[in-house]
Subunit: 252 residues, 2 copies
C-alpha cells in the first residue's frame, strides 16, 4: 500500500519542486514505483524531469475531469519514476475549481484507482494556499513542508500549519504531517544556524533530522532535465536527498 | 508626478519582497515620499518593515472597497517611507475578486487619489499570476521583474512576459517594463554566470545593469524589521539596492 505525499508551503522558492523531484528519484532508485504529480502552473517539476511545458494530457485535464490521472501519467528517463505533467492552463484552475461540484475532492477521486500502483506519489504544490494546494492536501496521506533556513520562511510556517489543521478538520482527517524539511541550509552563516535552532526548539521532532545543504549541483540539475542523483550522484545534494528519502520512508 | 511600480514574478522566492522594500527604502532615503503596498497574504513586506501581520485597515480592506488606500497607508520607522500592510484574508481575495464588478480595476481606482502624494509607490506581488497580480499590473505604470540567477527562474520568465503582454493589451496599455533585475547572484558559480549571460543575450537592455549579489545581510534584515540600508548600511546588499534605485529612477 503506497502513500501520497503533498510537498507544500505557500512561501515561494523554499525548495518544494527540488524536494518533490529528488525525493521521488531516490525512492525510484530503491526500486519502488514512484509518481510525481506537478500541480504548479509554472511546470517546474515537469521541466526538471526533462519534459516540455504544456504536454498533454496534463494535471489540468485530470483535475477538470476529462482524463483519469492514470491516463495522464507517463514514464520519465529515470527507472520506476513516472510523471503527470503540468501545463500553463493550471493557472486557470485556481479560479475555475471553486465553481465545480465537490471541487476539493477532485484530485483525491482522480488518484483513487492508481494509489495501489505506486509505492509513493509526490504532489508538487504551487506557492499558495489556494484551491490547488487544498486539493493536494485533501488527496494526500502525508505532508512534507520544505522550509528554507531563513527568517521569512520561518515566518510563514505558522500560517501554513494553521491551514493544515483546517484541511484536516474539514476535508481529510487522516492527513499526517510527516515533517518539516530544512532546505538550502548554509551552515557557515549565523542566520541559518539560528533558524535551524529555532525550528527544532519550536517544532521538536516534527523537524526532520536530515538537513539539505545549499549545493549548486541541485540548482544546476534542472537545466539538464535530471534529478540530482543522475546529474551529480556523489554531490552533497544527492547524499542529502538519499538520506531524506530514507528518513521519510522510515517515518511511514 | 510619481510612478507606481509593480514588483512581480510568479516564480517564488526570487526576491520580490526584498526588492520592493529595499528599493522603497532607498528612494525614501533620497528624500522622496515613498509607499509600499503589500499585496501578498504572506504579509512578508509588512513583517520586513516591522509591523505585525493582520494590522487593520489592510490592503484587503482597500481592495474590497471598505476603505481607501490613503486611509490604510501608515508611516514606517524609515523617514518618508509609508506602508499599506497586508493581512491573511488577502488569500480569500484571489477567489472573491473575480466575482466583483470591474474587479481588475479595484487597485487602480483605489490608488487614484494618492498617486500624486508619493514620488514612488511599490506594489509587492504574491508568487502567482492570479487576480491580485493582475490588479497590480493594471494599477501600475511600471513593472520590475526580479529574477534569481538560476535556471528555474529563467524558465518562468517567458511565461511572465506573456502575461504582461496580455494585461497591457486588455487592461493597461501604458504599462512599461522598467526592467528585469538579477537578484541573489553568486558570481563564484558557473550557473549564476551562465544565467546572467543568457538573460543579457536574450533580453538585452531590458535587463538592468545593477546585479544584486547574494548577501546574508539582506536575509537577516527582515528579522530586525528593517530595510538593509538601516540594518547594514555599508553591506554589499545595501550598496546594490542604492545603485538599483538610482538606475530605476534614471529610466523614468
Ligand atoms: N539545496 C539547494 N541548494 C541550492 N539551490 C537549491 C536548493 N534547493 C533548491 N535550489 C534552487 O533554489 C530555487 C528554488 O527552489 P525550488 O524551485 O525547488 O523551490 P519551490 O519552493 O518549488 O519554488 P516555487 O515556490 O516557485 O514553486 C531553484 O532555482 C532551485 O534550483
Ligand atoms: N540578495 C539576496 N541575498 C541573500 N538572500 C536574499 C537576497 N534577496 C532575498 N533574499 C532572501 O531570500 C528569500 C527569498 O526572498 P523574498 O522573500 O524577497 O522573495 P519573494 O520573491 O518575495 O518570495 P515569495 O515568492 O514567497 O513572495 C528570503 O529569505 C530573503 O530574505
Ligand atoms: Mg516549485
Ligand atoms: Mg514576497
Amino acid at each position: 500500500m503506497g502513500h501520497v505525499y503533498a510537498i507544500a508551503n505557500q512561501k515561494g522558492g523554499v525548495g518544494k519542486t527540488t524536494t518533490a523531484v529528488n525525493l521521488a528519484a531516490c525512492t525510484a532508485e530503491s526500486g519502488r514505483q514512484t509518481l510525481v504529480v506537478d500541480l504548479d502552473p509554472q511546470c517546474n517539476a515537469t521541466v526538471t524531469l526533462g519534459f516540455d511545458r504544456d504536454a498533454e494530457p496534463s494535471t489540468y485535464d485530470a483535475l477538470c475531469g476529462e482524463v483519469s490521472v492514470a491516463a495522464a501519467a507517463r514514464p520519465t528517463a529515470t527507472d520506476n519514476l513516472w510523471l503527470v505533467p503540468a501545463s500553463r492552463d493550471l493557472a486557470g484552475a485556481a479560479v475555475e475549481l471553486p465553481g465545480l461540484e465537490r471541487s476539493e475532492l477532485r484530485l483525491r477521486e482522480g488518484l483513487g484507482p492508481i494509489r495501489e500502483r505506486f509505492a509513493a506519489t509526490l504532489l508538487d504544490c504551487p506557492p499558495s494556499l489556494g484551491p490547488i494546494t487544498v486539493n493536494a492536501l485533501t488527496a494526500a496521506d502525508r505532508v512534507i513542508v520544505p522550509v528554507q533556513a531563513e527568517y521569512l520562511a520561518l515566518e510563514g510556517l505558522v500560517q501554513f500549519l494553521d491551514t493544515l489543521q483546517t484541511v484536516r478538520r474539514r476535508l481529510n482527517p487522516s492527513l499526517v504531517l510527516t515533517g518539516i524539511a530544512i532546505t538550502m541550509a548554509d551552515e557557515r552563516t549565523r542566520l541559518s544556524q539560528d533558524v535551524e535552532r529555532e525550528l527544532r526548539d519550536h517544532f521538536e521532532d516534527l523537524v526532520l533530522e536530515t538537513v539539505v545543504p545549499r549545493s549548486v549541483r541541485l540548482a544546476e540539475a534542472p537545466s539538464f532535465g535530471l534529478p540530482v542523483i543522475a546529474h551529480a550522484p556523489a554531490s552533497r545534494g544527492a547524499l542529502a536527498y538519499r538520506a531524506l528519502a530514507e528518513e521519510v520512508l522510515a517515518r511511514g
